[in-house]
């Protein structure tokens, strides 16, 4: 590997971005360590792409500082930043061959023909497209075009690689393969990468850390596991994996950090997450709601199945109960319960979390 990467850190300091009266980013701060892949995740319009474009230098913040690799680059345009980007549409230049595309950045920065050629070769080899140099982008498949875009960004040896929804134009099966390739490449080269997506599964799969954004601010930041297991809010619980949000009450708290929680007629012990006794919201993952056909001796919460949908390896139920309408995923195909049946529910505590808000 002869790419000489100097992965850089990215720091956002109190960044605000306004378009006229609309605030796209509201006082956001975070930092990304060198060599990490961090995902900006959120629903559309949350400001994640604007954030990425501000790292690239394609947008400039209204307030705050952007620091890349220890240098304040807030006022530098994209041209002068040591950052490369892979676009959602790949943005391959359709009138240039694959080799010309990959070599474009090198040639505009004044590198000689021969060296450019050598590094283009290396770049294409890196993404497994050696020998494709003379083709036009339109002669490649979607996945190959995507890899050309990655090679084009990498040959410039950027401090930070930005990826804007790189998988959204690929079909579902290819997506998993390509995201693994991207992750492998990033880890092999020790790249700092910032990855934007609205797909929570994709984010969980590729990231070292995830920054979840919602309505122009950061909703929560953490490792994939932290976000899934300890959602800070009902938004996060619902956005990362599905969740049923139910009302309950903390009856008592005990050390170390445990709380006894009552949900309707059930009681269980959960990590208290710093909450005091009183009413509380609880997120329950759909696969952690356990259903049994109702019978008098069961002490679970009573409910009725409104819908049952068979999906091959799992069954989705919609339950009407005292807690409201609940969504349940059940993998016990052989014990399917028909719609209209009365049931009794219990919860598995591994899929429950108390929410602060």
């Amino acid at each position: 590997m002869s790419l000489h990467l100097r992965p850089g850190s990215v720091v956002f300091e109190n960044i605000t971005k306004k378009y006229g009266v609309v605030t796209a980013i509201d006082d956001v701060s975070f930092s990304i360590e060198p060599g990490h892949l961090v995902t900006l995740l959120g629903p559309s319009g949350c400001g994640k792409t604007t954030t990425l474009r501000m790292i690239a230098g394609l947008e400039h913040p209204t307030n705050g500082r952007v620091i890349i690799g220890g240098k304040d680059v807030t006022s530098l345009p994209a041209t002068d930043r040591d950052v490369s980007m892979v676009f959602q549409s790949y943005a391959l230049f359709p009138h240039m061959t694959v080799a010309e595309n990959v070599g474009y950045g090198l040639s505009v920065s004044g590198l000689g023909k021969q060296e450019t050629g050598e590094r283009v070769e290396e770049g294409l080899e890196l993404v497994g497209l050696a020998g494709y140099g003379q083709r036009l982008p339109s002669e490649l498949s979607g996945g190959q075009q995507q890899r050309v875009a990655v090679a084009r960004a990498l040959v410039l040896e950027p401090e930070v690689l930005l990826l804007d929804e790189p998988l959204s134009n690929l079909d579902a099966k290819l997506r998993r393969k390509v995201r693994e390739e991207i992750r492998d490449l990033q880890q092999k080269l020790g790249l700092t990468a910032v990855y934007v997506t609205h797909d929570q599964e994709e984010a969980l799969a590729v990231s070292d850390r995830i920054i979840v954004m919602n309505r122009s601010v950061i909703a929560q930041e953490g490792t994939p596991r932290e976000l899934y297991e300890k959602p800070a809010s009902s938004f996060i619980a619902d956005f990362i994996g599905d969740a049923n949000l139910v009302e309950g009450e903390i009856v008592a708290t005990h050390s170390p950090n445990e709380a006894t929680v009552r949900i309707a007629s059930l009681q269980c012990n959960l990590p208290d997450r710093g909450l005091a006794a009183g009413p509380v919201k609880i997120a329950i993952r759909p696969d952690c709601v356990l259903l049994e056909k109702a019978s008098p001796e069961l002490k679970g919460i009573k409910g009725n199945i409104i819908h049952a949908t068979y999906l091959g390896n799992q069954i989705h139920y919609t339950i009407d109960s005292a807690l409201g309408e609940l969504f349940v995923v059940d993998y016990r195909i052989d014990r399917a319960i028909t719609a209209g049946s009365d049931i009794s529910m219990t919860f598995a505590s591994r899929g429950m979390a108390l929410l602060a808000s």
Binding site: T79, Y104, V108, S109, S138
Partner: protein, 747 residues
Amino acid sequence: MGAEGGKFVRAAFLPWLILGWVGFAVLPWYLVEDGFWAFQWLIDGYPLDSDYAPALVQAALGNVWLFPLLLPLLAPLFIIRKTKTDPDYARVLIISGGFGFAYLLAQGFIVGISGWEYTALENLFGPMNSRQYGMGYGALLTATGFLVLFTSGLAAAGSLRGDVFVTSAIGIVIALVATFVFLPVGKVLISAFISESGTYAFAAFGENFFTRKIWGLACITTTASCGVAWNSLFLALLTGVSTTLLGLAFALVATRTDFRWKKSLRTLTVLPIITPPFVIGLALILLFGRAGTITQFVSDLLGVEPGRWLYGLPGIWLAQTLSFTPIAFLVLIGVVEGVSPSMEEASQTLGASRWNTFKRVSLPLMRPGLANAFLIGFIESMADFGNPMVLGGNYEVLSTEIFFAIVGAQNDQGRAAVLAILLLCFTLSAFFAQRVWLGKKSYTTVAGKAESGAHAGMNPLLRNICLGVTLPWAAFTLAIYGMILFGGFVISWGRDHSLTLQHYSNAFSVDWAEHGLHWEGTAWDSFWTTITISAIAAPLTAALGLLTSFLLVRQKFRGKNLFEFGTMLSFAIPGTVIGVSYILAFNVPPFELTGTGVILVLCFVFRNMPVGVRGGIAAMTQLDKSLDEASLTLGANSLTTLRRVILPLLRPAIVAALVYSFVRAITSVSAVIFLVSADHNMATSYIIGLVENGQYGIAIAYSSVLIIVMLLAIFLVQRAVGERKLRRDNRLEATSAKSKSLKEKQA
């Protein structure tokens, strides 16, 4: 290609400073009488002769007001070692560039041929013995240098993300549009308020404005003619309606019937672009004039006296309808096609008949397009000069009246200016109405790409009406063009129909004389002038138009709407108004251009630029913005991005802009007729002269040669610029087709 990193930005302004110095200290500052490019001045006493001296010498020779220009030329030398981030860098460039540019312009306007231009200054400083003429290449280079120093300073201070190229491009386009669009139009406005004694007076305007010649309504009750304003308005309304209805009929035939030759209907749309505007009128004279074929035939048949009905409203209306129907067709075919088939299918599945579907679904959806077509017909008719000139008779319209006010015995600039303002008001109102409609268009017609389904067929009656109207009309149009090609080969139309090549040999004979090839024909002079000037104007127009569209589509800056308005304004200004305004603005220093070829080039560039802008915008909005952004994040600056990514993808738009501006320069009459001179006569004004002398044979022969030359030029440009090397990229191909048709719409 320099590295755009932080290392080499030091003194990036240096080339522009040198340019300023070259203009100031090397080249002749003032206009060189015999032409700069003749280089006669080099041996005629340069650099000390006051006609040819550079500014530095001029200042020493007595034009002392040029000395202060040294300051802004010297100041930037002090920051040559500073970097872009140094606050002094931006400050010095902004101040010296801004001051230099402003001072250079101001001294040009203040000191004229007879010293002080303003009596107030004369009273203040006493009379001045020195004088100066129009600015020349020296002043031009220095002014450009100052302007770019100024914009470089602004960029260094952070405007437009510090992008020097974009900032400078905006600055230059603004300066050009201000000088060659706003200044002339402003001059027209001002001179409308100048009385014959030369003082400003509203009375002068009122006197010229409220006369019976303009607003008279005598024609309603008597046989006398109405005022020119009413004449123009009435004619424009008639033409707008007739072209729209005919255009709609053609569009329906082309899209909703299985008519066999409907594809060849599309070639009709090329015709008005390559036809000089008066040629239709000329052909009509050959058919319907007193000696015309059909007139003779009918009078022999029925024994009636040949009439002069053609000369006047009927003739102009007929000629304009023939000329502008293809444009309406072009506008409407897009609209008719744009009506989503699924809407028509929906209507039919809901039980509506074909007639009801057309009346209640398709037609309302086309309404904005119809309004747009009408307004274009209206504007074109208002601005048309050639046909009223050839066929007008006693029917006077604004565009010809303006011409006669300037050129005729009256030579009344004030009156011409008032008429020009009136005409401008009419076209501008129509132009804005059109823009409002255009804006709504996108909401009402649906242009879904992935939609399948067929358009509903037409109800048989409607179909027959459309075919019944369009087929004879198409035949008529063909006959007219046949006439144009054939008319040049007969001795004297209507009298002696024997075939001859005499007209062609008169106009275009070539002889081998002792000095080699000798261009003997009478037309060669104006022909070569026309070709040269059009060939110079075309690339300039295309470059300026595409650059402007790049700024409009791809850059965000304050005042962009105003910028767009300014660049599009000249599109709504009729040629006669442009002609008058150029005469008024560029007859005196500091811009003394009348009688030169330069003024013709400038006139073409700024008249046709809006079309390049529109075409560029249409093409560029179809290019994904992430292509530019990718280029920027890969380290290219905006100039490199434009050159290596955008321009190669815009080839079809470039072809269209080149062809269009070349062809428009050749066919233009209305503005040109004011600006030609003995040395620089254009083909069209030469032909008009022939028509006025009744030499129809040569006029027609010359016109056909022009048409052939233009067809050839279209072919050659297409070959030269070439195709893009893109396979399987339908989206971009769609772009090219779109931008081309848009261009043609503007014709």
